[in-house]
């Protein structure tokens, strides 16, 4: 038998067997593929638009829009530009997403904690809520609230009257609108002073506790002071706020603030749908904290509420925040279903009407996508910062 003089493993493998070479080659191929697809799409679109006589660029943003929008947070009428329609849509998207995130978080946390209640009825009601809202398609829920609930309300003349100051009808909910008169600044100042006092008090309370051990109840004081000081300012200056109360005039209401039914339906659906997911996230976060943690804290003599605040919640948040972030992102993106019931969000007014009228598909789609990308990244960054601050102190 002859022995092979070559060593068993030569210094370098053949290039096509070297994992580093392989990974570089595959990456180059992948990038080339993406670039080719991108170029083809771009080239196609540009030549299509040229052949149909559509100019490219963002000049259209200065042209007159010529269409009305049923709800706007900023001054708008049809003589204004497409740039303004973009802003109106953007504001409406931000409004419904922001309110939706706030409300879904509150409802989700309450239901999630209720799900763990030792009260049988409370726990079962929470469970039923979660199962119903989580398992029905969101679009169906939007239609349900829009057509079956809000659409079924009576017309303005037979509106549901809440104490002659607020009205609910199929045109929406009309509430009194505060009108600030000179002197209202005293109230604003009161609020600022209250907030500043609470911050100073919290810092002082922390220092004093470190020094003397005595615990100062900052929270109850904040609860009194924050509404209390503006109210005091209101009383001292003789009430510098008046209310623009809505009244029925002709076929609709005059004055007040109107929340259109499109907003109400979309907000209800987004809130209740997302809250059912958040509730499950909160429940599993709390359950994930080992029972031994609570027992150890109780055994040290800590009262139940401090156990929750100092031991359970900080550990549960670590588990809750990452999936909570993705629910916030989902809610924001799902708000584009607004188009189904005609709520004038960004997709509806900009990618819908504006695109139809101008044909500037590439620019409009790119701008809209950039907006959602920016909002999503902003939410992610904020939540990651929060996560780092409160939760990830281990190791």
């Amino acid at each position: 038998m002859t022995t092979d003089p070559r060593p068993l493993r030569p210094g370098r493998p053949k290039p096509w067997n070297d994992p580093r070479v392989r990974s570089v080659v595959f990456q180059i191929l992948a990038i080339a593929g993406v670039a080719w697809v991108g170029y083809t799409l771009f080239h196609n679109t540009v030549s299509n638009m040229e052949s149909r006589g559509i100019s490219t660029g963002f000049g259209f943003l200065n042209e007159t829009a010529g269409f009305g929008i049923i709800m706007s947070l900023i001054p708008y009428n049809e003589t204004m530009s497409y740039g303004q329609t973009f802003l109106v849509g953007l504001m409406n998207t931000l409004l419904v997403s922001g309110l939706g995130i706030l409300l879904a978080t509150i409802v989700g946390f309450v239901v999630g904690i209720a799900r763990l209640s030792s009260n049988w009825l409370v726990a079962k009601v929470a469970l039923a809520y979660i199962e119903v809202f989580r398992n029905i398609p969101l679009l169906l829920q939007i239609f349900f609230w829009y057509f079956a609930v809000l659409g079924a309300l009576p017309g303005p003349r037979q509106a549901v009257n809440v104490g002659d100051i607020a009205f609910m009808s199929n045109r929406g909910i009309v509430l009194p609108k505060p009108v600030f008169e000179p002197g209202a600044w005293v109230m604003g100042t009161g609020l600022v002073i209250a907030l500043a006092t609470i911050v100073v008090l919290a810092i002082w309370a922390r220092r004093r506790q470190a020094a003397t051990g005595r615990i100062f109840p900052v929270l109850p004081i904040a609860v009194v002071l924050i509404p209390g000081l503006p109210l005091l300012g209101y009383l001292l200056t003789g009430g510098p706020v008046s209310w623009d109360v809505p009244s029925l005039g002709g076929f609709n209401f005059r004055g007040g603030i109107t929340a259109i039914p499109e907003l109400g339906a979309l907000l209800l659906a987004l809130t209740l749908y997302t809250a059912s997911f958040i509730a499950e996230i909160v429940r599993s976060g709390i359950v994930s904290v080992d029972k031994g943690q609570t027992e150890a804290a109780l055994a040290l003599g800590l009262p139940a509420r401090r156990v929750l605040r100092l031991v359970v919640i900080p550990q549960a948040l670590r588990v809750i925040i990452p999936p909570l972030t993705s629910q916030y992102l989902n809610l924001t993106k799902n708000s584009s279903l607004a188009v189904a019931i005609g709520y004038p969000d960004l997709v509806n007014v900009f990618m819908g009407t504006t695109l139809n009228q101008t044909g500037q598909a590439v620019e409009i789609v790119a701008m809209t996508m950039a907006v959602y990308l920016t909002i999503s990244l902003a939410i992610s960054v904020l939540m990651n910062l929060y996560n780092r601050a409160v939760a990830l102190k281990e190791r």
Partner: protein, 267 residues
């Protein structure tokens, strides 16, 4: 800085006191009964523990040892009978329960350290939020007890970075920082690798020497022999036999005790 240990108690009292004078007892358990649903876990237990006494509880798995000591600081509620700790009778009053828990430290089988807090912060939490101790003073006490369990150098690490034996010693220090009058141990070494058992037992022996009242569920018979004033054998939710360690290991009275000791001393 004042500590609760006196250091005056002799290392081991000659013979156990079977019937302690009632007013001497720091823990009195009378006719303690507990059910989990229909299951009768604790059947009419009676026990008086003197101040400074060291008691080891042993018995087969499921005999109710954990449940018994968890009743003493009301981690489990009992349904019949009376438990009095340091003159306070346990009832459903939250203030009462919290007052007793302040005086009763507990060490668990699985340590249950707070993973989101550093070792030192684990030791500060209860003194600051329960005893309302100024932070500097709490740090001083915390470091003192971390030194006593011989890990002051780990004070700023997180529990996840420590070995099991080190974690259990932190758990002991955390309980001692409340300067309790009584310490409860529920199988403190049974989740540990063999080479770490000794470092934890050493700390416990030292604590016993300082005069702390201790109730310890453990199968470490060596520990029971050196430290215990009395050994209690539980089976099926009952106290089957109580004896001084000398008598308990050499001359058990009950057949069930003998059977248990044979099994446990075989390996």
């Amino acid at each position: 800085m004042q500590q609760t240990e006196t250091g005056l108690e002799p290392e081991s009292v000659a013979s156990p006191v079977e019937s302690v004078a009632r007013d001497e007892a720091i823990i009195q358990v009378d006719d303690l009964n507990k059910w989990f649903g229909d299951f009768h876990v604790l059947k009419s237990l009676n026990l008086d523990v003197r101040k400074g006494e060291r008691i080891v509880i042993c018995g087969p798995s499921g005999s109710g040892k954990s449940t018994f000591i968890r009743c003493i600081n009301h981690l489990e509620a009992h349904q019949r009978g009376r438990i009095t700790v340091d003159g306070v009778e346990l009832n459903e009053d939250v203030k009462n329960i919290e007052a007793i828990r302040r005086e009763v430290g507990m060490v668990f089988q699985h340590f249950n350290l707070f993973p989101h807090l550093s070792v030192l912060e684990n030791c500060l939490l209860a003194p600051i939020w329960v005893r309302k101790t100024p932070r500097n003073e709490a740090i001083e006490t915390g470091m003192h007890y971390l030194e006593r369990v011989r890990i002051p150098d780990q004070a700023h690490k997180y529990p996840g970075q420590l070995s099991g034996g080190q974690q259990q010693r932190v758990a002991i220090a955390r309980a001692l920082c409340m300067q309790p009058k009584i310490m409860l141990f529920d199988e403190p070494t049974s989740a540990l690798d063999p080479e770490m058992i000794k470092e934890v037992l050493d700390v416990m022996v030292e604590l016993a020497g300082s005069g702390m009242t201790m109730l310890c569920v453990t199968h470490e018979m060596g520990f029971a022999k050196t430290v215990a004033d009395r050994v209690i054998f539980m089976d099926g939710g009952e106290i089957v036999e109580t004896a001084a360690p000398g008598d308990f290991f050499t001359n058990p009275q009950q057949p069930r005790t003998r059977e248990f000791l044979e099994q446990i001393l075989q390996h």
